[in-house]
Amino acid sequence: MKIKALERSASQSLPQRAGDPTPRSRNLDPSLHPFARAREYTRALTAAKMDRIYAKPFVAALEGHVDGVYTLARDPGRLGVVGSGSGDGEIILHHLPTRTNVRKIKAHDGIVSGLTFTRSRHILSCSVDRSIKLWEADAETDTVVEEDIDPDRAGPSVQKGGAPVRTFMGKMAFNSVDHHRSEAKFASASNMVQLWDETKTEPILNMQFGNGAETVLTVRFNQSETSVLASTGTDRTMCLYDVRTGKAERRVVMALRANALSWHPTQPTVMLLASEDHNLYTFDVRNLGSPTQIYKDHVAAVMACDWSPTGEGFVSGSWDRTLRLWKEGDGRSVDVYHGKRMQRVFATQYTADARFILSGSDDGIVRLWKSRASDKLGVLDGRERASREYRDKLREKWRHAPEVRKVERQRYLPKAIYSAGKLKRTMEGAGKAREENRRRHTREGEGKPKAERRKVVLAEQE
């Protein structure tokens, strides 16, 4: 007779020495893990709730401007430095790690309408006073000394004034300026799009579509096809230019004008437009007949937009005093940020590490936000990171469960925005109902519904 019984010894299952972790045993047999699915679901729900509990997106308010902030720029070579331009012609360079102003320049007589960093630690600013100015933006920002970081004394560490390195004069007010990705060239927008060399005082190229005398609002260089430019104008158009041919190539006319424009950081054909009609649109420039996606959630004109450097999503700022975060290809916003004192948002910018978002608003404050609301700042313990990753995965896996989805999607908005959204939905519903009624009473085959995407572009011109 063979006889064998289980033998257990505590010495194998307990830590060998004091301070050692307790040995763990694993057995994946499902009969030892009852309710695996139900427990995982409960954990996912808890994870979703915890994510909302920890959602504190606001990081800091960067003060210094007297007038509203209408433009922001990040330095492609440095993580911690951003520039902001305000309505009274002042430019401030902010140092984000210390949240201090490192340089304050009274640059222009009018509103600073455009701001961009060059590849040599200089900053270009343009204004409605018909000038573009090149400024020194080095300012020893990489080595801020400890003594300088004193919140009580905002003054001494700030370098003031100084003369511009170079001034470029134009005939009309400038609305936007953007620097070339690698070469020492930049483009400006006034009544036409002009290409400038940093070393020359006259533009090297003037481009406009036909003989259009309309104002150009924004101009942006493509990030990967670096000789392609795009602009938007007050004539409700978006226009594409090629520097190599020196011509405006094609343009589209929309129902309302686009306030801002942003090229995808990695995909050269993808472009984002922030429109006056409360929506954002992504276009594939190879097919300008209709947008690839409409992004609807804002309840007022969208004033600014910027792609995340990862290219997965983007941020938009609106006249309705909110910022919204979006995923590419998902028509509803992922998150919405608002502040009690934040006014109309005119400029938004991702930082180069995609962890933070900057917003400039009418109230003269540059705000720093987290790009993921529940992120924890500072060093993460290994165990904490593991548990965060586990929770994220759970949320993703169970996001279709109704309870989880509800927790994930629900946001409390200021009453004005909420009621504006409600009103907008009502109006849209009424419009749809009216359309439907009209269709029902027309002869069959005549009142075909038109897809929302087909309504965006009115005309495509070459």
């Binding site: 007779m1 006889i3 064998k4 019984a5 289980l6 505590a10 307790t22 045993s25 047999d29």
Partner: protein, 589 residues
């Protein structure tokens, strides 16, 4: 890439020093293959066994969104991979189960006594066999989920808890009133006792914490550890659920089946099984006022019930005063899987499943253990006896210790522990139930357990309903029934069976009949407004008028029809084709 693939080659079966081929893979996949696997589709010769599986989810028409469909499909594939990976991981389990194995033809495992076993096995395990004499009456026992602590309650009110690993007594109290049942709550620090009138909760030191005055005259207690629910049933016939984390009574269900003294829980779906006086077994969930299943299991009162946890709660064993033991399959309650009459004298008895699927049955002073392989084999023979043990007095409770080969038996003169080799699961999962749980570990588990607490409304017979897609709502379409009074007379007579229709004959040429039927069944496409009297009049009037245009069209149609028929005849060979040519006029008619 070509060079890379040819160098990688198909993975060869590994050779072992003893010359045997083993079926399992001991090493991971080839590093080279793994490095390119993410970017390429591998040729068949390189494919790992996992890749033989279907890649997609069977098309689910309930899901309209393509994106969701693809996500579900991906999850389905991942799940299948996980099952395979889990099978692979079984190799890593360190311990093998114990057992008794007969070597000769004449040896019988049930002849082996406890003394023989104690002599053969290690000292440590042999020491866990004990006989403790107590004078508290019939003892009820309960282990904690990790099998480390034991609680006993004597009929006359002697209650004690032990740390069985160290052999320490934690709490010992004399209640001086009847104690009918005892159960630990989520861990050993709290236990509930069903006393003469109410249920009381005590802490690890035996200090009374709560008196649950809503549980009156309770016979049996169960604790659902993942839901934190204490369940009681008693002479009043009410099944009561109380949440022990919040203190709320969740629900009280009236069974309407009289006093109840037999209860067990299904550890895999938290369904409570009750055995009643007239031989029925009922299954309860807290969200339904009626039992989800009610079956007439025995011809006398039920005395013992137990659910097998090894098979994920699939099998239920029941014993009744009709002196039979039955095993039921939860997938098909219509017929029991096995039924037999144990040879022990008397009737009734209690049953209990071990962690590896052995069934213990006790009646009178005898405890029998049956081997799992003969319990579920589906034939009508009684299962083979695996072990048998005799006790000094009548038994009142049998409980297997989790993760050990030990069966604790409570009886009228104390309790004993019996060694049953092969009863316990050898490899516990320390994230689920840790045998050597430290103080910190226990605290952590308590907090995590509360965070992961399942809601009472998640209890259902099928635990996988969570996260699965709800079945599409069925909208039965039926034509509005015409009331009997409005039917035509023939119809009414037909329904009443008063027609004198000729009997249908069995005819050989069935084909013709069906053709005939199909001709008559042809639907008439009547159009509304077609036969208004004015229109009918006009149509009739039109018949007399010979319109030259209509006549021409009719003639043309007739000519076409004739030509087509001729063509058809030619193609079928019935008509000679008309020969054209100069000599055709000489053709004979």
């Amino acid at each position: 890439m070509e060079a890379l693939l040819t160098n990688a080659g198909p993975s060869k079966p590994r050779k072992y020093s003893d010359g045997q081929k083993r079926s399992f893979r001991t090493s991971g996949p080839d590093a080279t293959v793994a490095s390119i696997a993410g970017h390429t589709s591998l040729p068949k010769s390189l494919a790992l066994p996992e890749d033989d599986m279907p890649k997609t989810h069977p098309a689910d028409t309930k899901v309209s969104s393509r994106f969701l469909q693809s996500r579900l499909s991906r999850q389905h594939v991942q799940k299948q991979h996980a099952v395979l990976a889990r099978k692979d991981a079984e190799l890593l389990l360190p311990d093998v189960p114990g057992g008794l194995e007969a070597e000769g033809e004449l040896e019988r495992t049930w002849k082996v006594g406890q003394e023989d076993i104690s002599n053969e096995i290690g000292l440590e395990t042999a020491r866990s066999r004990r006989d403790i004499k107590l004078d508290g009456g019939d003892y009820n026992l309960r282990w904690t989920r990790n099998g480390r602590h034991l609680a006993i309650a004597g009929k006359t009110g002697h209650v004690a808890t032990f740390d069985w690993q160290t052999g320490n007594v934690l709490a010992e109290i004399q209640l001086r009133e009847t104690a009918r049942d005892i159960t630990f709550l989520h861990d050993y620090t709290m236990f509930a006792v069903a006393q003469k009138k109410y249920v009381y909760i005590y802490d690890a030191n035996g200090v009374e914490l709560h008196r649950l005055s809503s549980h009156i005259d309770t016979n049996r207690l169960e604790f659902l550890p993942y839901h934190y629910l204490l369940v009681s049933v008693g002479n009043t016939g009410y099944l009561k659920y109380q949440d022990t984390s919040t203190g709320q009574v969740i629900t009280e269900l009236r069974t309407k089946l009289g006093a109840c003294a037999t209860m067990c829980q299904n550890p895999h779906n938290a369904v409570i099984n009750l055995g009643h006086q007239h031989g029925s077994v009922t299954l309860w969930v807290p969200n339904m006022p009626k039992p989800v299943v009610q079956l007439q299991a025995h011809l006398g009162p039920i005395t013992g019930l137990a659910v097998d946890s090894k098979s994920e709660g699939r099998y239920l064993a029941s014993a009744g005063l009709d002196s039979k033991v039955k095993i039921w399959d939860a997938r098909n309650w219509g017929k029991c899987v096995k039924e037999w009459q144990p040879l022990e004298s008397g009737s009734g008895g209690i049953v209990e499943w071990s962690g590896r699927g052995l069934l213990a049955f006790s009646r009178g002073r005898r405890v029998n253990v049956y081997a799992s392989n003969t319990l579920l084999d589906g034939n009508s023979k009684p299962p083979s006896l695996y072990m048998s043990h005799h006790l000094p007095t009548q038994t009142s409770s049998i409980r297997f210790q989790a993760f050990e080969d030990v069966l604790a038996v409570g009886h009228a003169a104390g309790f004993s522990t019996v060694i049953v080799p092969g009863a316990g699961e050898p490899n516990p999962d320390s994230y689920e139930a840790d045998i050597y749980e430290t103080r910190g570990g226990r605290r952590e588990r308590e907090v995590r357990g509360l965070l992961d607490k399942l809601q009472p409304d998640m209890i259902s017979v099928d635990t996988n309903f969570i996260g699965s897609i709800a079945p599409a709502i069925k909208r039965p379409y039926s034509e509005a029934a015409v009331p009997f009074s409005r039917l035509p007379r023939t119809e009414r007579l037909r329904i009443q069976g008063k027609t004198d229709e000729p009997m249908e004959e069995e005819d050989d040429d069935g084909d013709d009949a069906t053709q005939e039927d199909s001709r008559t069944e042809k639907e008439k496409h009547k159009m509304r407004g077609k036969s208004k009297s004015m229109k009918r009049f006009l149509r009739k009037k039109r018949k007399n008028v010979i319109d030259p245009a209509t006549a021409a069209v009719k003639a043309k149609m007739a000519a076409i029809r004739e030509r087509q028929e001729k063509q058809k005849g030619i193609s079928e060979g019935n008509i000679e084709p008309e020969r054209k040519g100069a000599l055709s006029r000489f053709r004979k008619p």
